[in-house]
Amino acid sequence: MNGFNINISASAAWAPGLDDAAAWRAWPGKTLPLDDGSAPDIRFIDALLRRRLGRLSRMALHVANRVAAEWISLPTVFASRHGELSRTVSMLHALAAETSPSPAAFSLSVHNSAAGIFSIVRGDHAPSTALAAGDETLLWALLDATARLTDDPDSAILLVYADEPLATEYQSYSSASASAHALALLLRPGEGIHLEWTENRVRAPTPEPLSLTLLTHLLGQREKLTWHGERLSVDIHA
């Protein structure tokens, strides 16, 4: 048996059309609203620092701030399946057209873009990791976060997960169509939710990412949920 427990003491989620907790409470059982391309409010970040951020980082930073605003310092895990791939695509287009790629896009094309900006904005030097692990990204980000908690009851870590649709050029390489959404979880020592994984030999992958299945569980809709990935199945239960 492979599993671990997590204790979520606060959470925030954002997707186009799902701005606040009330909207999310009415969401389970439905698909996400149509993506209108909108991005969330990140006015807690200075305008000069904010201007270059793309939607993925804006979503990640928005939910991160909603959970972490009252904490002076928090270690973080920033996780995303595809990260800032859209910036890489724009730079590849520039190179293909034999023009210079944007230095600003280059500077924010790395996987820890949002993590870096979050640290700068908050003046917080706490350790941070940036993870990607295919369709299992959230599972291993949760494990990383949980493993970094200590026995100290004051111990806490912020996990931020964000994804957005793949660029058209890459869509045929991915089985799942990512939709724009972000989730922030404040994890504390203790038990609350049990996550368990087994090899998935037979089931077709669940059409939604693990993050949305976990959100459905958090919103109290179903006591036990199973998500099937390309390689693993994950049980989520109390």
């Binding site: 000069l48 201007r51 210079s100 230095p103």
Partner: protein, 92 residues
Amino acid sequence: MNEASHKLEAAIKVLIIDALQLEDIQPEDIDTDAPLFGEGLGLDSIDALELGVALKKHFGLTLASNDPAIKEHFRSVGSLAQLIANQRANQA
């Protein structure tokens, strides 16, 4: 101040706002002779690179990264306009 150089300065201000995504700034907020970097607009080294790419693309500006005068050329909108005008005059 002739009309051509005035137009060039105005075009550079618009380019700075667009290329550097300065959402809350209008062309008239940028003082032609005020420093662009550090103080003034508060632009950083990535902005300098981005602006270099944009100037090359829009005005055909040629920049040599080892040019010792490059810092002085990028000091203000006025100095950039001067540089573009000089290069145009040399090519003419």
